[in-house]
């Protein structure tokens, strides 16, 4: 059924490759939902899309404050998209504070949609404006659409019988309708979403639907917008797609891993931003053999995951920086007992409580080095939201095959960022290898697999394999407590070698984009993937001799890394910290590696990295 509000417009339609839009408003304005719905709609329509949600750590910061502004940015296009974009084609500012804090990111000449009904004197003052920006000429460099969205929404919605306050809450769908009209999108999926979401509150369902349509109609009719934009579908491999954010993908990957391993999954987790969604997602799937336990703290979470691993389940815990810090001792026990356990750290800006909702990659040192004694573990990092699935699946596979704890480093940006995802066929997922138990007469807890050095996973309930295990050093042969000096050295080196051999189980290193030899190699890891790829691709297309390598394995490093690096004259590591990966690589390979660092609780911008690449290339010649 064609919606009556989606009347064919007679505005000229311009075909563009893509656009960068940011919705910004008060935490209470429903900006995150608006962004998610827009993302969903464009993805469903076949565009590629990358998103950047950004919200304050306050639950409901006082209305109108600068620190209470919430934002959701996305880039969508008719080609592959790797970042949410540097500067905005469209900024939607739903209040004065949002305008104040976001305007500088709008391109010169870009479209600014602003709710003039939210620019009252008091609001302007709270946002630090001395004069009304609509009147003082400060917006002259932009294409301004000042619309009293608040009033228009209220008027549209009044017939439904919502209170003034409730009616005001429909503002986000009105705005969404407006933007849909500009980008010529159907309202269908959004309307069915609203119907589903507000099933139990039909008045809200109706109000939001009406607001959505009213916004759309306004956009179509208003003279403020001279044209519509058309962004074609991006070419894609055939298959079934859905949108997915990093935390969901990661949760699915863990579940898929345990299902394919034929094991129960036991999660121990303690809520913490931005990792809580993993606990929440896993809590929903008991019917898939998942037991998600909200533990009393992160130490208990890690210990219960380890206890579960001992008892034959896949033991998982998920947390963020401060919680990761608390697990330090327990992860050491996992190393000593050589049990399969996956620890997810969704990194946020530190140190200490830091900036709890902002991304950073500054827990790399902690993951690789943060334990007492010689305690190496495997450390992996996904590069995109969708890749969180693959890496999580692999983490479970490696943990079990190699009998070792595996740490996954995600971050706040991957966690909340979303992208279209080709839904994998469960039957095609990589198979699991689990070493069979030796005959009981040969069994010792430390009897190692020749290839992987993994010890046998004999769990309680299995007759004949009764044994004791713990954090004290064990004899290489018998597994009994041992204080023998040479045995200790042998065990330390064996545990290290076991982790080193995981490299045999990882794909070889390869260039993502750009030159595979030449002047400059840019290395990244984790969520900076898109920015680096984009920067390198653009410059390489312009003839700059630069390539992009992205590491998924941080400990051990993948095979072939040295060879790839040696094909370049200079190496630059780009990361959201003070240069942690750069230091680890320098230590390992003794190369004079340069660092591009950014520690602002924000992703890298393509343009700032491009500047640096150009500079390094010049210095080079």
């Amino acid at each position: 059924m064609q919606n009556e509000s989606e009347v064919p417009s007679n505005k000229p339609e311009i075909v563009v490759n893509g656009a960068v839009i940011r919705f910004a408003g008060d935490s209470g304005d429903g900006v995150q939902l608006t962004g998610q719905r827009f993302t969903s709609a464009v993805a469903l329509a076949g565009n590629d899309v990358a998103t950047l949600p950004d919200f304050p750590s306050e639950i409901r910061a006082p209305a109108g404050t600068l620190y209470g502004v919430s934002g959701y940015q996305l880039q969508f296009a008719s080609k592959d998209v790797f970042t949410p974009g540097d500067s905005l084609d469209v900024l939607v500012a739903l209040n004065a504070a949002a305008l104040q804090t976001n305007l500088s990111d709008l391109k010169p000449g870009g479209l600014l949609v602003v709710d003039s009904g939210a620019l009252g004197a008091a609001q302007l003052k709270k946002a630090g404006y001395a004069t009304n920006p609509l009147e003082d000429g400060s917006l002259s460099g932009y294409q301004v659409a000042a619309i009293d969205i608040s009033t228009l929404t209220r008027k549209a919605v009044t017939p439904v019988g919502l209170s003034t306050k409730e009616a005001g809450r429909c503002k986000n769908f009105w705005t969404l309708g407006l933007i849909f009209s500009i980008y010529d999108r159907s309202l269908d999926t959004t309307l069915s979403f609203i119907a589903e979401q507000f099933k139990k509150k039909p008045q809200f369902a109706e109000g939001n639907s009406i607001a959505l349509k009213a916004g759309y109609a306004f956009g179509t009719a208003s003279e403020l917008f001279h044209q519509r934009y058309r962004i074609a579908a991006a070419p894609r491999n055939p298959g079934l797609y859905r949108n997915i954010d990093g935390n969901t993908a990661l949760s699915y990957g863990l579940i898929a891993g345990s299902v394919c391993a034929g094991r129960h999954l036991v999660l121990g987790a303690y809520p913490i931003t931005p990792a809580s969604a993993i606990l929440q997602e896993l809590s929903k799937h008991r019917h898939l053999g998942v037991t998600a336990i909200q533990a009393e703290d992160e130490i208990a979470a890690a210990c219960l995951a380890l206890g579960a691993a001992y008892a034959g389940a896949v033991g998982i815990c998920c947390t963020s920086g401060p919680g990761m810090a608390l697990k330090t001792e327990a992860i050491g026990l996992a190393v000593a007992t050589e049990l399969p356990m996956v620890i997810v750290d969704v990194q946020r800006a530190g140190p200490s409580t830091g900036l709890p909702t902002k991304p950073e990659q500054s827990d790399l040192y902690l993951a690789v080095h943060g334990r007492n004694g010689e305690a190496p573990v495997c450390v992996l990092a996904p590069a995109t939201p969708a890749e969180c699935f693959t890496v999580a699946y692999d983490a479970v596979r490696i943990a079990i095959r190699h009998m070792t704890p595996v740490i996954i480093l995600s971050d706040a940006y991957l966690a909340h960022g979303a992208e279209p995802w080709l839904v994998p066929d469960v039957d095609q997922l990589p198979k699991f290898e689990q070493t069979a138990l030796p005959p009981t007469e040969l069994f010792t807890p430390m009897l190692r697999n020749d290839v992987t050095l993994a010890r046998p996973w004999a769990s309680p309930g299995t007759p004949g394999y009764e044994h004791r295990i713990g954090g004290l050093e064990k004899d290489y042969d018998t597994g009994q407590i041992s204080v023998d000096p040479l045995n200790h050295e042998r065990m330390v080196r064996t545990r290290a070698e076991k982790v080193a051999r995981i490299a045999d189980d990882m794909p070889e290193c390869r260039i993502e984009v750009g030159a595979s030899q030449g002047k400059l190699l840019v290395i990244g890891w984790g969520s900076t993937y898109g920015s680096i790829r984009e920067a390198v691709a653009q410059l390489h297309a312009k003839g700059v001799s630069v390539g992009h390598l992205h590491l998924r394995g941080l400990c051990p490093f993948p095979r072939g890394l040295e060879a790839v690096m040696s094909a370049f004259g200079k190496i630059l590591v780009a990361e959201l910290n003070s240069g942690q990966l750069a230091q680890l690589l320098r230590a390992k390979f003794c190369l004079d590696i340069k660092s591009f660092t950014k520690i602002q609780g924000k992703p890298i911008r393509t343009d700032e990295l491009m500047d640096r690449i150009l500079k390094e290339s010049e210095d080079y010649s």
């Binding site: 079934l240 130490i299 004949g464």
Partner: protein
């Protein structure tokens, strides 16, 4: 006449591991080990289904000496490890061994949450009122003013009472015995084993090296009967060599009052009768202060409530009702779209 052929039962020997026992000569832990080894074969649980979990301390070496599965974890965290073990496999019989330091100092929080969840595990707390393994510092159960290596002028910390703590945290089974109590300890352990839910047993234990004779007045043969209040459900609270002393409720002061010459003057009908199911009576008993009052031994409190495992099972039923297919269904849930082959 029918012949009953006994099938091969497990014996004490089956449960004794071959590890050298590394406690000091004279340590009370030996007595506890031997009582445990008596109880385990009785329970008719296959060996492989037992898991002994411990933290760190002299007491926490216990798992090495029982030939079942065992996990000697890290200091204070045994209850958390045990939670994971049970979550992975609820049919296991999980026993925790902890010390007064392991369980009540660093590990107090995990113990609290274990109690409130009513996880179906048995918790044996060896209370020697000292840190044994680290060579003699005071513990959370050491007396105020106690001089130890770390409190040369006497400890400034008021002790916590394990029983009152457990009750305050909502434990559903709370009992007390001591290392050399023999049959009494065996009885209490048997009761604990049969309790569904967290069974907490405080075991007074002599650290021969660093806190010798801490419980001498209670445990030595000569003064035992005067100083022990052996609890029996449904029986009046009596003690003394001739069971001639007892305790009765004084409603005015809300306390238990001592009654002398019980039996001789028939006053026994006014005595308080032990009722394991009364949480308030348990509080009365827990607040009796030694040496003014005898020390209650046996099961102070036992109450049958759903276990954590029961609750998880309940969630399973809920989940099954709303379950939406297998893994593949999960992956393709939400709004999906098909990109056709070009």
């Amino acid at each position: 006449m029918t012949m009953v052929v006994e099938t091969a039962r497990l014996t004490q020997k089956d449960f004794a591991s071959s590890d050298d026992v590394r406690w000091c000569p004279g340590c009370g832990d030996y007595g506890i080990l031997s009582s445990v080894l008596k109880v385990l074969p009785e329970l008719e649980i296959p060996k492989e289904n037992f898991v002994w979990v411990s933290g760190i301390g002299c007491s926490s070496r216990f798992p090495y000496y029982v030939d079942t599965y065992g996990f000697h974890s890290i200091h204070g965290r045994a209850p958390a490890v045990a939670l994971g073990v049970k979550a992975a496999n609820p049919k296991l019989s999980v026993w925790l061994v902890t010390g007064d330091g392991d369980g009540l100092s660093i590990g107090g929080n995990h113990l609290m949450h274990c109690f409130r969840r009513n996880l179906d595990v048995k918790v044996l707390l060896f209370n020697n009122r000292i840190y044994g393994l680290t060579k003699g510092q005071y513990s959370p159960t050491s007396e105020l003013g106690k001089q130890t290596h770390s409190s040369p002028f006497g400890s400034a910390d008021r002790p916590v009472d394990p029983i009152r703590f457990a009750l305050g945290c909502g434990a559903t089974f709370v009992a007390r015995s001591y290392d050399t109590a023999g049959a009494h300890l065996v009885d209490v352990l048997r009761r604990a084993a049969r309790h569904r839910g967290t069974a907490f047993v405080e075991i007074l234990q002599n650290c021969h090296v660093f806190n010798d004779a801490a419980f001498e007045q209670i445990t030595n043969k000569a003064s035992a009967s005067a100083n022990q209040l052996r609890l029996e459900n449904g029986k009046p609270l009596v003690y003394g060599e001739a069971k001639d002393k007892g305790l009765a409720l004084d409603p005015a002061t809300l306390s238990l009052a001592k009654v002398e010459n019980v039996g001789s003057n028939g006053s026994s009908k006014s005595l308080m009768v032990h009722d394991e199911s009364s949480p308030i009576l348990a509080q009365f008993l827990a607040s009796l202060s030694f040496p003014e009052y005898p020390v209650p031994l046996g099961v102070l409190y036992a109450n049958s409530l759903p276990t954590y495992e029961d609750q998880l099972h309940h969630l399973d039923i809920q989940a099954k009702e709303t379950a939406r297919g297998g893994l593949q269904a999960l992956l393709k849930s939400g709004q999906v779209w098909q990109v056709p082959a070009a």
